[in-house]
Symmetry: C2
């Protein structure tokens, strides 16, 4: 397990470019080893062989300065949940009993899932808007692994993947955006519609199948075939995301100019409740932290760092909270502990 | 108009007996002049005669050290609304164009409505649980007026009143109670049921036809015939109200013992929102002030006086708020001004 689960890793700290709107950038490559079938067609023995081979390549190849291997069937449910909350593994990957695992760079900027939907899913994470940098890093890891492991590749289709939507480059680019003003003005619906028209997926904080809570939206490509990685990356880095950032900025300015009291009401109430509540559910905490984050981003709340808010968004999730508390807590106890934890952190008490 | 509408009169200050639960006590006597029909049967000329006669008696009789006469058709809508909010006239009395008025003692402990439903409605108000004292004072005024004015009285029925429910003693005893813990535990329904079984009326903060907001309930007798004033007074002073106070105290203790976090959550959130919101509706303000009042009454919030909260309950009402602001405000402006006013008063800023 990562060493410091009581704090945020660097890429979560919100100090990257455009961090007032962009929480994080992620590049993910789906790859499969040559000489093995896709996971749905493998025997138990083959799955074990794939897991071992991938682990060995990952741990030996100098992919990152130091990689940590987490064997998931051997891990506790709480540990797996912590990895989900830190966006180091998917919710699907946390489940099931098959041989599977994840290799994580010590700074948590890289996580490679083994035997998730594909044999390998290389994920690189960055703070703020840093897709180019993330892509370069993902490519570097990919090249090293390809040299050692050998990938399933077709000269006609490109990289072969379990799901046809990933065939080709196997790339998924996704950006986590904080869009509270677009939510307040209702314009978020137009953004979602535009994203759908461009065949982009708009998801919530926890990825596939989750609702957007805390005004956090993850925008990602849905298909890979027919466009090069560079084209897709350029779309995201220079067209799509800058456009959304521009819309969010315009909505913030419009709120500040024309609905000042409503804006400040949301922001200051959030701070008021976060620093006074004695019971806080995770969804309410996230919703309030979102409004507080808006206030800090817009300079309407002083003396609170964006990094602290990002950290609280991470640490107020159930598994992290219980890790900090040092033991299992039921729902009621979590709401009590969460309220106290947030209050203490925000008031410095 | 009363002189200091930017603050609470003494009886609203919440420093009377059992003020943790009892906001105020009120004794009201309905009386009609002999020699005139009830108001529904009078000509315009007669109504004018009644209004003049009552006013003269009230202003001359040394009823209070100093009485103020307010001619209601001559008053602005805002002034009349202020009197309603201060519980010095009824909502019905604020309406209509007929000759009517109210005589108010300078300390606002007495208000005598002229030409409301009856020719005279003598009201005496006290802080906390002081029905005996209020009743004695009402009687004293009643005797003075009776000597001068002469009342419609039947040796069989007692005092004659426009509505049969008031015939006899013409008395209505009512007590304004703050019952937040009974609301939180849901036991308020049992109290309301018991009150109904005893033929008592349970009403909201603004009397007849209003919903209970801010956990404020007004309990009063519904009928007068067949029981002496002393019997009814004894029921209220020594049986009914002490029982309700006991229930509320028990509910508060039960919350403190068994649902401590929930109780403190409500109390501290109320304080948090009241001191941070930038927009506050009157109903939200009242609901939050109620929870803050509970916290102060129970000693769970320090450095805030009960009197200040009672004052804010009064002053955050629309007409008072506009009087303080010095001019008409629309709904949005009132919510802005109310939030700022409450925040300033509670934080001493």
């Amino acid at each position: 397990m990562p060493e410091h689960t009581d704090r945020a890793s660097d890429w979560m700290k919100g100090d990257g470019p455009f961090s007032d709107v962009v929480m994080s950038s992620r590049v993910r490559l789906a790859r499969n080893l040559a000489g093995f079938p896709f996971l749905s067609k493998t025997s138990a023995t083959q799955r074990r062989e794939i897991a071992c081979a991938c682990r060995d390549h990952l741990m030996d190849s100098g992919i990152a300065e130091s990689m940590l291997w987490v064997d998931l069937p051997d891990s506790s449910e709480m540990d797996r949940q912590i990895l989900v909350e830190r966006h180091l593994i998917s919710r699907q990957h946390a489940k099931g009993g098959e041989p599977r695992g994840v290799a994580i760079a010590l700074d948590e900027s890289v996580s490679v899932m083994v035997n998730e939907e594909d044999h390998l899913r290389i994920g690189v994470l960055r703070s703020g808007m840093q897709l180019d940098d993330g892509f370069a890093h993902a490519n570097q890891i990919d090249d090293l692994l390809e040299q050692r492991a050998g990938y399933a590749y077709s000269s006609r289709f490109g990289y072969l993947t379990a799901c046809p939507t990933n065939v080709g480059s196997g790339i998924r680019i996704s950006v986590m955006l904080h869009l509270p003003a677009l939510v307040m003005t209702g314009e978020i619906e137009k953004v979602k519609q535009a994203a759908n028209d461009m065949h982009l997926a708009v998801r919530g904080f926890h990825g596939e199948g989750t609702e957007a809570t805390g005004d956090l939206y993850q925008i990602s490509n849905q298909t890979t075939l027919g466009r090069t990685e560079q084209e897709m990356l350029a779309d995201f880095q220079r067209e799509i995301i800058p456009k959304v950032i521009e819309y969010e900025h315009a909505a913030r300015q419009a709120m500040a100019d024309r609905r000042t009291y409503l804006l400040d009401d949301r922001i200051h109430r959030a701070q008021g409740v976060l620093t006074s509540a004695r019971l806080l559910s995770s969804s309410e905490a996230l919703a309030l932290l979102s409004h507080l984050r808006l206030g800090v981003s817009m300079g309407r709340i002083a003396d609170i760092e964006l990094g602290l808010i990002n950290e609280l968004i991470l640490l107020t999730q159930p598994a992290h909270l219980q890790r900090i508390a040092g033991g299992r807590l039921d729902g009621e106890q979590r709401r009590e502990f969460r309220a106290e934890f947030v209050r203490r952190r925000l008031t410095g008490g």
